[in-house]
Symmetry: C2
Subunit: 430 residues, 2 copies
């Protein structure tokens, strides 16, 4: 690791060098950038021993620190996982080029030739947590799109991330670009993230990939523009016209298929028109999957009628529950008086991620699709489909819960901006 | 004016009501929104007396406070200027609708129907300075695009802005929408801007329109996403292949045609290959237009050879000068060693606004267009063309110097985002 005393000066220097390295990438052709990414893939294969050795040190340290099995599994690299990273890079190389698209072209008054063309952002910062494979993923998509990157991995995976980044930087150099185009912060000091967030004008975008704490810190503190990702307090609303044979499988899928993900269902709204019939069925189905229920009064009453254990199987929901992303086998349930109340509740407590209605009434579905303010709004399907791969976008970077620049699942195109090129022969403005 | 004691609570309440009012606008048709904007135009005409009376009070107070003639002129409303505002609103009504565009439509695996559609942002905050007409402009473009707005005018124009906003809110109500869709902060307390900037999740975007101080405050402090506008430290680089008969008129136009604007030229880079011949000519031309020169050593030497008065006509440039936006009859001049140094200088000191090269060498032009990192890059034309109207975008909101969401001159489309609508019949994720 580099000898790092003055963190802000270190990060500043690193970022300026990476920004400088972004220039030749910015003018490289599609083929040159794709070739660089293929070179990166091959380098990872050729030098997997180095990466595995660094990972072994991270694993030892993590085990000694009493890290949970789940986290250890996310940290672990194997030859197969490295091959997966390399194959992922090759997939990126094959993606269509989002750079250099002519978005508009016209001759404006006085004969000026105006072209609006997509160009790389410049320098992309990614801050992420335990998984070392994000290093290859992030570097690959940046190089593919003509951007330099400055990476900041989780402390627990620091040696693995640095080893991967060095292999990739060497490959970038072999491919004829400055190695600083793949830069990584080689200190685990938290101050480095703060320093990175202050570099407005040098770092062009900051993409945090990790837990809510990391993302909220970036949103609050960063002077660099952030693409906010990740938090999903997703609702399913069961309309009075709902087909229960669709509703229950959708709810069980959205809640239990994978619980730690941002597109999982966290809250169920049941229309009072069907509450009496639907609540006992859905509660029974959720309990079969060991889902803990945070219910409003009506829901808790049904739980009691079903002889469920208060405190163990269900408990009264508090105001806090409506805003919670459990990321666990837990769900909040509320009975609402019709479509308007459902929409208002979602627009108040939701995180603009993924929201669903189950209804046979087409007008109700359309109203919900229009009025719910979220990146992905569903009629009669599970919220779990919100994903760049499922949506056919190619390599997903994350799922944005903001409205500007990129919304919902976003991929390579989000790492581009555009510029106007104006070609004249001496024109002045009258 | 409203009785306002607790500023954060007041702004919060105002913004929440405006956000609520954005919902019916969000589902309104193109025709309904256009009709609302026409009603707003007519209301301004019908009630111009009220607006003029409020403006007279602002003018009296401003005169008493010793306000400069220039500022007084920007503050002044006349029947003609009100007619101009009304006509501007009617132009907005005629613009093509940026909302409801289908950006993508496909059937994804398992039969889900996926549509990506442009939708309004929701609640747009605009903070501006002295000119009361921005009130109508801002409210009009927001209503046209299906957004509610919360406005914050300059203190000196407060009565005028509030009077205009009230007329427009009444008109919006007449047109069948909640009047809160045009909301204005009715206190001149600076804390209100701070409160507005904290409302992430309620206010969807904040657009400051004003001086560098206001914009920098928003960029630094706002938790709400900002579209940064306005600062333009624009360069013209005279390449060794330049045609002086193009270069000099371009420089004079870009520097002197209007000095207080963000697309004016603030800095001139002269290639050393032509410095000896070009500097005396351009300096003489600039002096004819009374432009004060901040020159590097070489430039100052030429000024002395021309017998110009040091301190009056020219002075040595300091490091600060390379980053300054004079907004006055002043310019910095530096001799550079070729294209690379020119590009590096611009990418270091520029504000990513408008940059120009003057060159007959086409390869040099193309290199400059590709490598300069700015919203609008020119070959052989004046930087003064950077403007939504000139670029054919329709009603310009501002000129963005950021890269995300909107870059360069931006108009109605920047007030939209998109969402994914997914229609299924019970699909769950395997």
């Amino acid at each position: 690791m580099a000898d790092i005393q003055n963190i802000p000066a270190y990060v500043d220097e690193l970022a300026r060098a990476a920004k400088k390295a972004s220039r030749p990438l910015g003018r490289a052709s599609d083929a040159e950038r794709a070739a660089a990414v293929r070179t990166m893939a091959q380098a990872l294969r050729d030098r997997s021993d180095e990466v595995l050795a660094a990972n072994a040190l991270d694993m030892d340290a993590a085990r000694e620190a009493g890290t949970s099995e789940g986290l250890l599994d996310r940290l672990l690299l194997t030859p197969e996982r490295i091959e997966g990273m390399a194959a992922g890079l090759e997939t990126l190389a094959d993606l269509p080029d989002p750079v250099g698209r002519v978005l508009d072209h016209r001759t404006i008054d006085c004969g000026l030739d105006l072209t609006r063309v997509s160009v790389p952002l410049g320098l992309v910062a990614m801050v992420y947590e335990a998984r070392p494979n994000v290093t290859a993923d992030a570097a690959g998509i940046c190089i593919r799109t003509g951007n330099a990157c400055i990476l900041r991995g989780g402390s627990i995976a620091q040696r693995s991330c640095v080893a991967i980044a060095h292999v990739l930087a060497d490959a970038v150099e072999t491919a004829g670009f400055p190695r600083e185009a793949v830069s990584i912060i080689e200190t685990t000091d938290r101050a480095a993230t703060g320093a990175l967030m202050s570099l407005r004008g040098i770092v062009d975008v900051l993409i945090p990939r990790g837990g809510a704490g990391l993302i909220q810190r970036c949103v609050r503190e960063s002077l660099v523009p952030v693409i906010e990702t990740g938090t999903g307090n997703c609702h399913i609303y069961v309309h009075e016209s709902a087909d229960f044979d669709k509703a229950i499988p959708i709810i069980i899928n959205a809640k239990t298929q994978r619980v730690g993900v941002c597109n999982a269902c966290e809250s169920l709204l049941v229309d009072e028109g069907v509450a009496k019939r639907f609540l006992p069925q859905v509660i029974a189905a959720l309990r079969e999957h060991n889902v803990l229920i945070h219910g409003d009064e009506r829901t808790c009453d049904v739980c009691r009628e079903l002889d469920l254990a208060e405190g163990g199987a269900f408990m009264p929901a508090t105001e806090d529950d409506w805003g919670r992303e459990y990321l666990a086998l837990e769900i909040s349930i509320k009975v609402v008086r019709g479509l308007d109340e459902a929409i208002a509740h979602i627009n108040r407590y939701g995180t603009m991620h993924s929201e669903a209605i189950v209804a046979e009434d087409e007008a109700a579905c359309e109203r919900f699709l229009t009025d719910v303010d979220a990146s992905s709004v569903y009629a009669n399907a599970s919220t779990r489909f919100t994903d760049g791969g499922e949506f056919g976008l190619g390599a997903e970077i994350g799922i944005s819960t903001q409205k500007l620049h990129a919304r919902g699942p976003f991929a390579a195109e989000a790492l581009t901006t555009y510029k106007y090129l104006i070609r004249g022969n001496g024109q002045v403005r009258p």
